[in-house]
């Protein structure tokens, strides 16, 4: 499956592209959490793999959870991680799917 090719470092690019905000609260769980914000509000919460995982593949189950959190179908998710999907296009998708 294509999922096997997505590594932790790929999510570093997603964080930058979508300007995700790191959660500032104290954490017990092992994985970092980021928020996707629109109009000054936190609208989506993403649990991502530890970025120091580098080029190590992220598990299929973990990636499915991230895809669901992002509200993207498989094709859109691949576009996001492989770059064609821009931040503006992603914002349009989310505005269409969520009542902000």
């Amino acid at each position: 499956m294509k999922w096997r090719n997505i590594s932790a470092s790929d999510f570093g690019k997603v964080i930058k592209k979508l300007s995700l905000q790191s959660s500032q609260s104290k954490r017990r769980a092992p994985h970092p959490v980021y928020w996707y914000c629109l109009d000054g509000k936190k609208v989506l919460r993403l649990t991502l793999p530890n970025l120091h995982g580098g080029s190590k593949s992220v598990s299929t189950g973990f990636i499915k959870q991230i895809q669901n959190s992002l509200r993207l179908d498989t094709h859109q998710f691949e576009d996001l991680t492989e770059c064609p999907l821009t931040a503006e296009e992603y914002e349009a998708i989310i505005r269409d799917k969520l009542v902000i």
């Binding site: 936190k42 598990s59 189950g61 959870q65």
Partner: protein, 149 residues
């Protein structure tokens, strides 16, 4: 015989049909080998798909692994075992949190930590900063979690 073939004809000819199409023996053998190769590839792909498909079931959690917090009642969570990758995902879809582990126990422990993290983060955030979805998660969490200390 011919009419039954016509009725069952699909895009890929049945192997028996190859013998009735006036083909030479060599052509027929070549066609059959091609079919066998296609079927072998498809079977291999199917095997991979089945191996990668997670085993899914539900289970209950009765506490959050922290004495300062308790659950008002046990909650049902979803577990997905990806045996080909030695990974288990435990999730509480209603509030979009999950925990990952090598075993079910580890995944459930991480899920409990993730639930507490989400709860504490949401109650520490001004409602004005939360979208509708996080507000709904907080509403669910406030119904199921009781702070004991």
């Amino acid at each position: 015989m011919t009419s039954s073939f016509q009725q069952s004809k699909t895009e890929i000819p049945r192997i028996e049909e190859l013998f009735y199409q006036g083909s030479t023996t060599a052509t027929t053998e070549s066609n059959i080998l091609e079919r066998l190769e296609t079927l072998t590839n498809q079977t291999g792909q199917l095997r991979m798909d089945v191996q990668e498909r997670p085993v899914k079931y539900n289970t209950q959690i009765r506490d959050l692994g922290d004495e300062s917090f308790s659950l008002v009642e046990p909650i049902i969570v979803s577990v997905e075992e990806y045996t080909s990758e030695d990974t288990v995902i435990a999730s509480f879809p209603e509030i979009e949190v999950f925990g990952e582990g090598v075993t079910e126990s580890e995944a459930l422990t991480n899920l409990k930590l993730a639930i507490l993290d989400l709860y504490e983060e949401l109650i520490d955030t001004s409602p004005d900063e939360l979208g509708d979805l996080p507000k709904a998660w907080l509403s669910v969490l406030q119904k199921i979690i009781k702070q004991t200390v």
